[in-house]
Subunit: 291 residues, 2 copies
């Protein structure tokens, strides 16, 4: 069993991005984060992203709105950022409060600034295999950790558990594409899948993106598989100062011995997500600069 060290791979990605940023002529890349309300996880994610950006020489700003902002007002703000040539990238931190349509908000971000890749145009570009599109950061991070670890994908069976817009669907579509570290047979499973373990046991590469703590156990995994654990679930843990700990969708301790490669939680996919956001922001800057 080899641990896929997301921290180390993310550091390598960030080093590459940082070197490219330093070599850029003119102003640095810039990203604006939009946060609505004060969801603690969102606060923490945006903080981490802003700190990483600062370390790389990427300008960032947080536009924070109260929980009860109207859809109209939020969309008007996004439109003003779309029109602002000094803004390369826009990221609306999910989840949004219930009265706002995430789809409408994501689609309002200009496709060339949509570094989260959740808008309809970038999702369509992924289906079209158009390399000009932005791929959502978590799926892009999964692909990058596989690519940098040189895990074979062509002709292999990738099984994705979870069909979310943010992880499951784009992750499967990435591995289905033609090209290097792609050309996989891809299966999407989810809550309605019958006999899940029989399907997941076929996976050469199993991507667990369900959002349920310890859902994937040893029965779901075949000997020699690569397991990518996307879950970040809070589980009560009175022994921790915060009263909880973070665990993945995979029963790591019981599954790891069967795996050829496995990502830990934390320290697996999480850091890759942040790294790919920086890579996407650099890409957005290059595009806006060349346009």
């Amino acid at each position: 069993m080899t641990l896929l060290d997301g921290k180390a791979v993310a550091a390598a990605v960030l080093e590459d991005v940082g070197a490219e940023v330093r070599a850029l002529p003119g102003r640095p890349p810039s990203v604006v984060f939009i946060r609505v309300g004060d969801d603690p996880a969102s606060v923490s994610y945006v903080n981490t992203k802003q700190k990483t950006a600062a370390r790389l020489g990427i300008d960032s700003r947080l536009d924070h709105f109260p929980e009860d902002i109207s859809g109209e007002k939020l969309l008007a703000h996004i439109a003003s950022l779309n029109a602002d040539a000094a803004v390369d990238a826009i990221l609306v931190q999910a989840p949004l409060p219930d009265h706002l349509s995430e789809r409408t908000v994501f689609n309002a971000v200009h496709p060339d600034k949509d570094v989260d890749g959740f808008g309809e145009v970038n999702l369509g570009r992924l289906v079209q295999e158009n390399p000009d599109g932005f791929v959502a950061c978590t799926p892009a991070g999964i692909h990058e950790i596989i690519r940098r670890s040189e895990i074979p994908v062509e002709g292999r069976h990738v099984v994705v558990v979870g069909r979310s817009l943010i992880v499951g669907k784009p992750a499967g579509l990435l591995f289905l594409r033609k090209g290097d570290f792609a050309n996989a047979t891809v299966t999407f499973c989810h809550s309605r899948t019958r006999n899940l373990a029989a399907v997941t046991r076929q996976a050469d590469i199993l991507i667990a993106a369900i959002g349920r703590a310890h859902f994937i156990g040893p029965d779901h995994v075949r000997e020699g598989a690569t397991v990518i654990d996307v879950g970040i679930n809070r589980v009560d843990d009175p022994s921790r100062p915060r009263g909880y700990c973070l665990v993945g969708d995979v029963l790591f301790d019981e599954v790891k011995s069967k795996c050829e490669y496995i990502t830990p939680v934390p320290g697996g996919v999480g850091p890759m997500t942040v790294a790919m956001l920086m890579a996407n922001t650099l890409k957005a800057h290059r595009r806006n600069h060349s346009a």
Copy 2:
């Protein structure tokens, strides 16, 4: 074994669409076909579509361009149709000559007139499960024949062979959605898939969209499966007046006895494609009218 009679189901769809068209106030729905060059199959497809439109009271027009039209000129023509309020729907008949980028041309059609659903916005809407989008006519036809035949999909395993933009990918995404006649486990296979038959034998619903005559044989199909044959392949046949006959991707005669349901070629998916184009044109008209 029950034959899925695409002609009969398409006739039912067309009857519904025709009744709705007749009940519309104001001008009838209108679709413009763009054909570049004189590919005989394209000529025949566009003819069939125009005849069907006429029968339903849908206005249609063919804009025909020479094989060597420049991309600029074609895109300018599409822009003029996008801006023309009297045009509800635009369909650029594929394939295009090699010097034209199909992706660029498909993406140039306004999303609200893109009744073929090949543009990036409508593909993204499919990934987002946004019912406002247009779904490509062949995948939509496959879904409709399954729906009208009341073949159970939820929790079943749909295996799609072929990952094209036009059939394979959107077909799989349709059955992966939440909702009725969806919520399937979905697997995409293709030319790089290892041990294809072992994968396709898991299918409750097998969609063959490879474009290779008689590629799917009895070894690929499990007892009791539903088989949807999307292939329309020319095979030499000196006994026919034209010198060829049309066959599917499935070895129909050897596979049918294993199936619970199977579509024939011709008379299966083909008529459904045309019917769904009419349904999409009506939908485009409603949208343009209400806007």
